[in-house]
Symmetry: C2
Subunit: 287 residues, 2 copies
DNA sequence: GCCCTGTCATACCTGCCAGGTATCACCGCG
DNA sequence: CGCGGTGATACCTGGCAGGTATGACAGGGC
């Protein structure tokens, strides 16, 4: 029972995602027959049936589902190993733990906290260079997992902190953002139920891991688009308090009484040993 | 930049652990020259110097240290993928998420809680078969990481829950276990400082991840040995309250006032999606 | 019923690369 | 100054990853 190779995992993940040998082979830049054979070998090696081949297409078995999840995690881990090793060995001294840190943040987030953190950390002695990697709404988890980032700012309840170490930094409430002229904009507070049921003003939908939940509201891709749609009276959004900083004159923010609080965390891979990272975390915890 | 292969990681980890190409090659069951070449290729591929070759032996560079840690994690992840896939596809129905769950526990732990958990879970409808995997003091984390186990009972502050999801089950205090005749055995309570400084009765040392902290006390390998050494008046130990169940007549347990409480957690890999596991966790949380 | 199309599997070949053996270059040491 | 022990180099070879051609089989249009 020799350990399964990374190449086989890549192949299987491609097939499992495409559910089609031909397309998977194309995506992998190879011909279909060797791919078929490789998957068969993998199944024989594991002694497990991974795919159910119906004449028309392919379906995953239970074991296949498991391997898809675990295999993705394993591929992320090796990608992370490669990226972090490259980063550690870049141009700095061969043995020193000093280096660049990559900090993943939500591009849409207010940069008030980020600014404070970066300034405070830069003032520390022996601080490393911080590269800020702005990403989409839920991209931080992935970037942390596959090594594109060393540390991230994440926001519960949107991000999941599962699998990472983390430290809570700030908590804030949420507000509903309405068109300024809307009747409800005059209210002092609103409840989530009220916001969800405004006639002709459906709640905007944010992507979660690249996909949108079904619903009547428009699909939001970025903050400018959202601002525009609200100003036009086409939608209403629920955003954290700090988002008030980018509101327009055409917007009105009304505090929500029962929305879950948004907690900003600093998160990092669970077993990190970098001194630079430890320094950044310490700085963040003191803010 | 093609992704690095698993085989190369195994090779590098072996060399990094042995710090000697010859021994590493022997451990890998291969000749030394191909190993040398593989490591050179790896370094070229990553564009990073991993090892500092002095004429006498080898030393890790900073990047090498990073790759050793991250590479181990990646290898664990692929091993876990293989093991869990095999387990999922064993003999049960191809598509059903029903299967065996492997629960890692500390062999030395009291099985009162474990018994309750197993009984309660077995009484659930649709409960899966649970295989109990008794292990050493700190082995549970590793077993969870490399897929030998699906879920584990862990104990803070000894185990680290970093990287796992977990749920606290019970909290208990700690007691000092002394030879029955010892003068301090008559006390109602003791402090950690007092226990550490008993003349001629050094504190027993447990292994942490396979190694022992330096100190005067004896190195403990299992519970029977510890009981014996205490009964003989050669050592004193600090153990959780529930350990009273295995004490002998020659032992006396004295509650400690300032020892950190021991919390028993049920822990599992952060991204698990198994229904059987979810059921077990739900059962545990209700205990 | 037919053929056509789209699916994955099989058969067979070939070039590359992982790994083996033999040897070198270098250093420390008696 | 040879000797033992280190990692690196040179060269060869067999297995296997990957390609091409083709088969087996099912569904759908006519």
């Amino acid at each position: 029972m020799d350990t399964l190779e990374n190449r086989e995992l890549r192949y299987f993940v491609a097939v499992a995602e495409e559910l089609h040998f031909g397309r998977a082979a194309e995506r992998l830049g190879m011909a279909q027959p060797p791919l078929s054979r490789a998957i068969q070998q993998l199944e024989r090696r594991l002694g497990v049936c991974l795919l159910e081949r119906n004449r028309r297409g392919v379906r995953l078995t239970g074991a296949g589902e498991v391997l898809l999840h675990e295999g993705r995690a394993a591929l992320d881990a090796t990608a992370a190993a490669a990226r972090r090793t490259r980063r550690a060995g870049g141009v700095d001294s061969p043995a020193g733990p000093r280096g660049r840190l990559v900090l993943a943040v939500k591009a849409a987030a207010s940069h008030e906290l980020l600014r404070k953190l970066l300034d405070a950390y830069a003032a520390e002695p022996d601080s490393a260079e911080i590269e800020v990697l702005p990403g989409g709404i839920c991209e931080q988890e992935e970037q942390l997992r596959d090594g594109r980032a060393d540390v991230a700012l994440m926001y519960t309840p949107w991000n999941s902190l599962a699998g990472f170490d983390s430290e809570a930094l700030t908590t804030e409430g949420q507000v509903a953002v309405l068109p300024a002229g809307h009747p409800l904009a005059a209210r002092d507070t609103l409840s989530l139920a009220e916001v969800r049921d405004i006639p002709d003003l459906p709640l905007a939908r944010w992507p979660t891991h690249g996909t949108y939940a079904p619903g009547p509201g428009p699909e939001i891709h970025n903050q400018t688009q959202l601002a525009q749609l609200i100003a036009l009276g086409r939608t209403v959004a629920v955003v954290p308090d700090s988002a008030r900083s980018w509101l327009w004159a055409e917007h009105t923010a009304v505090p929500l009484t029962d929305a879950p609080p948004v907690v900003t965390h600093i998160a990092w891979p669970a077993h990190s040993r970098s001194l630079a990272l430890a320094g950044l975390i310490r700085t963040a915890a003191r803010l």
